[in-house]
């Protein structure tokens, strides 16, 4: 592992995975609790489509990816809250399928061609440069700072929006800030770590955290810990066995979450009252 850290590009890769993992795992706790996992998947694919369009038109992938995700957030916010003819899940599923197809079509027709297909899905952790790192770090830190500042407001609106409104929390504004922060985060991370890793960090560490947590703070800490450990172990395995970086991180993250689930199952069997 220490040998890995001697290489500049691997230190960058580890920092990028760790920073985005921490922020995505933290916000992902709300994504899982609000049961909007599909929103996370659709936003990640929209970001990938934005990056694909940027490669086709030779624009900034970060800018186009973020713009596509923010458009998705606005679209999601405009979806009617009461389902009339088509469910929200169906619309999100349609957006996911369309965005995935567009992402691949854009990349296939871009000057860089199919070489970028894999990096679009799994990101290009090993190619994260100084400029990308700074933007990624700023976006993640801003999102985390917003969430720490509004810690009780975000929890109250997630737990019981009507009660939150009754005690004076500006529920609509808090929800808007939540979705914007999710959009900014996914948009910023998509180029560095790819749609699959973004989605995995949004879901797997929070699930591990929620399996074991008694309180919100514990869920955030466990989720962030799982994301950090997955980044470190995943990249080490990738370096040692010459495996692709993104899928290695996701595989470790999935393994840790599975371990958390099995451990919880054993605890429930041995100690049903807990």
């Amino acid at each position: 592992m220490w040998e890995m850290l001697r290489h500049d590009f691997l230190r960058h890769a580890l920092a990028a995975a760790a920073i985005s993992g921490v922020a995505l795992a933290y916000v992902g706790v709300y994504v899982v609790l609000r049961r909007i996992v599909f929103v996370g998947a659709a936003l990640a694919q929209l970001g990938a489509a934005g990056v694909g369009l940027a490669l086709l038109t030779e624009q900034s992938p970060l800018l186009m990816g973020s713009a596509a995700v923010l458009l998705g957030v606005i679209g999601f916010a405009l979806l009617p809250s009461q389902e009339r003819t088509v469910s929200r899940e169906s619309l999100l599923g349609a957006a996911y399928a369309l965005a995935s197809a567009l992402a691949l079509l854009f990349v296939a027709k871009s000057p860089v061609g199919e070489a970028h297909m894999v990096s679009l899905l799994f990101g290009d952790l090993l190619a994260v440069g100084h400029g990308d790192m700074e933007l990624l770090a700023i976006a993640c830190l801003l999102v985390i700072a917003l969430h720490l500042l509004g810690y009780h407001a975000f929890i109250a609106v997630t737990v019981d929006p009507t009660f939150a409104h009754a005690v004076g929390v500006r529920e609509r504004l808090t929800n808007l800030l939540f979705y914007l922060s999710l959009g900014v985060l996914v948009g910023a991370c998509i180029r560095a770590i790819g749609a699959l890793v973004v989605f995995a960090f949004l879901v797997l560490p929070p699930v591990a955290g929620l399996l074991w947590a008694r309180r919100f703070a514990h869920a955030f800490l466990i989720a962030v810990g799982v994301a950090l450990l997955s980044s470190l172990v995943g990249l080490s395995l990738s370096f040692r066995y010459d495996l692709p970086a993104g899928p290695s991180v996701v595989a470790v993250c999935g393994g840790l979450t599975l371990l958390a689930a099995v451990g919880r199952l054993i605890e429930v069997i041995l100690c049903p009252s807990r």
Partner: protein, 254 residues
Amino acid sequence: MGEPLVRLEGVTLGYGRKVVLRDVSLQLQQGEFWGFVGPNGSGKTTLVRALLGLLRPMSGQILWHRRIRIGYVPQRETLDDLLPLTALDIVLMGRIHRSGFGHRFTPADRAKALAAMEQVGIADLAPMRYRQLSGGQKQRVLLARALATEPDLLLLDEPTNGLDLPTEHAIMELLRRIHRERGVTVVLVTHLLSLAANAATHLALFRDGQVVAGSVAEMLTERRLSATYQTPIAVRELNGYRVVMIAAPSEATP
């Protein structure tokens, strides 16, 4: 007569173009205990949403006489069992004020939350996970959370739904005691007329988009109830409790 809290003047409520309640006029005063009674889908929750400021009237107006704090008690199923929260965490939410941004709980907030739990008889449940509690205990946690806001108006949405009879009775006794001791105005939303009739000082009957309201003495007559529900209704007293039921054909009010 208590100080007026809120007055509804010709309020029409609905969603989109669909009208749910039409031309509702009603005044709630300090210290009253209101029962909002009607079948499912009759507009009770719509009126509660309007009182909470979540729904704007399509016409008419809701006039608050002063700025008040509302303690809202939802149905206990509102809170997801996935949530990693202890009973105390939930009650502490009643101490969040204003936007919730930059808020930190103080020792005084904790003391008030624990006092509210003590008042509803669940102080010993503070460290327990919400998901581990029974239905009655969960409902008490939500009531304690509302009390922790130090409310002027306590708004309860079907608080006894799905509870067994002894637990329902215990919750209603608790509500009566809180109303008596705190002098807080209470609005109890329920589809069970008998439940409201034994606790409330005033009733609002919801039926077909209309609301008929008044004191219990005015509202709880067989003639009034039979006219509102368009079916013969009998009101009886049994062991000191009022029981409202469908009248046998032989005792129907002419």
